[in-house]
């Protein structure tokens, strides 16, 4: 095993035009040449399972039940995203939903009806391996009681083709925290892995102080990241902020997916946390896609992020969806 191999090279995140967050392709770069093969074999020996290439999709903030303004289209972007993923020539292995599946309601029976409606739309996906975490709109009012009866546990972990996935709940206590019990669970969960284990965390709120004044933070996020600090290869996927965001913190990369309902502005440009207005001429503006590709700068792998705006044929009179599908096929 050559010392020049960068273990972080093994996890390739390649986004494509989905209008639904991002499609992540894992492992393709690592297996592409002899260096990559040697790396995956090493990781396989260290971590118990060799990584084999696969892809997955992230959806976020579908807010089923929300009705405009600012977005009068309800579940249209969500449904369009499902159709788009179904049309991919190569189906992803799994789909992760990073919270706010539904919009909260205190009307009797309505919260459950919205969760069932969400399940009906998500159930149209050809991919049946769906994983969820709650957002505060799903689980913030009742401590996650209803969510658990419909979707199951709010935090859990699983392994898939050599990658360890961790679902974290930073919403169901009302406040943006995981709490000591979940932190203890996480510590125990991580204990069996070697430092080289590739880890994907998915959660709703950012695990770092992105904009506390807009509640874009997790109170004990530092403790989570300290537990993850020994690991060489950590990717955190989250939602909540209704816009794409990319933040590198040491060895960990934090990536936010766009929403499928409406977008928030850039907090660096305004203090006013007000959704961006609906534009009938471009109804899915800012609900677009993120393409992430791996490039190499010398020996160092670099992730390139390319944003593509989603448009709708029905409302804008364009063929935007078709253009996006064409882009996806080229992967």
């Amino acid at each position: 095993m050559g010392k020049s191999i960068d273990r972080r090279a093994f996890l390739k995140l390649a986004g494509t035009g989905l209008g639904a967050g991002a499609l992540y392709q894992v492992g393709a770069a690592a297996g592409a040449d002899s260096r990559g093969l040697a790396l995956t074999e090493l990781l396989g020996r260290q971590n118990g399972e060799r990584v084999t290439p696969f892809s997955f999709v992230q959806f976020s903030d579908t807010h089923v039940g929300f009705e405009g303004p600012p977005d009068p289209l309800g579940t249209r972007a969500f449904e369009q995203a499902v159709e788009t993923v179904n049309a991919l020539p190569r189906q992803p292995d799994l789909v992760l939903f990073t919270g706010d599946l539904t919009h909260d309601s205190e009307k009797e029976g309505e919260a459950l009806a919205r969760m069932r409606r969400f399940q009906e739309i998500a159930g149209r996906l050809k991919v049946k391996n769906l994983k969820f975490v709650p957002g505060e709109h799903d689980a913030g009012l009742d401590g996650g009681m209803l969510y658990r009866t419909v979707f199951g546990a709010t935090h859990y972990a699983f392994d898939h083709r050599g990658v360890h996935f961790i679902a974290l709940d930073n919403v169901s206590q009302g406040k943006p925290v995981l709490g000591p019990e979940q932190l203890a669970w996480l510590r125990k969960d991580l204990a069996r892995f070697a430092r080289s284990a590739p880890i994907v965390v998915f959660t709703h709120r950012p695990l770092f102080d992105l904009k506390p004044e807009w509640e874009w933070y997790t109170g004990d996020g530092d403790e989570v990241m300290n537990l993850l600090a020994p690991f060489d290869n950590v990717t955190v996927l989250y939602g909540h902020i209704h816009r794409q965001h990319d933040f590198q913190d040491g060895h960990a990369r934090h990536l936010a997916a766009r929403s499928l309902i409406f977008a928030f502005p850039d907090p660096a440009l305004t203090d006013d946390k007000k959704p961006l207005p609906f534009d009938r001429s471009a109804p899915f503006r800012n609900l677009g896609i993120r393409r992430i590709d791996l490039a190499l700068q010398g020996q160092r792998p670099v992730l390139g992020v390319d944003e593509v705006e989603l448009t709708s044929r029905e409302f804008a009179g364009t063929v935007g969806i078709q253009q996006i599908l064409k882009g996806a096929e080229s992967l």
Binding site: H103, L141, G174, K175
Partner: protein, 115 residues
Amino acid sequence: MKTTTTVLAAALLACGWLPGQTPASPKVITITARRFAYSPPEVRLKQGETVTLVLKSADVTHGMLCRALKIDSDIPPGQETRVTVTPLKAGDFTAICNHFCGPGHGNMKMKFIVE
């Protein structure tokens, strides 16, 4: 012990305290949280002056987060939550509700103006 008493008395005299008086208690300001606003929506504070905030909820559990003033508290209904604040810096500081309380939660906020 005598030395400690002397130093304390000297410190109080330096602050304008006269023998026979009790040291002034911090000013108390009551703030009531109600879905989805605080009352009053603005509170003026003085730089360096310690105040006690009495936080109450008129309905469900709310929260208050203001990092600049080191406030991070839950506000459950039916009780008073007391927070002592000494602003060190002048400026306008936004406090938000950080305990999810319903559909208007995302914009439930107030302002502390420190002069």
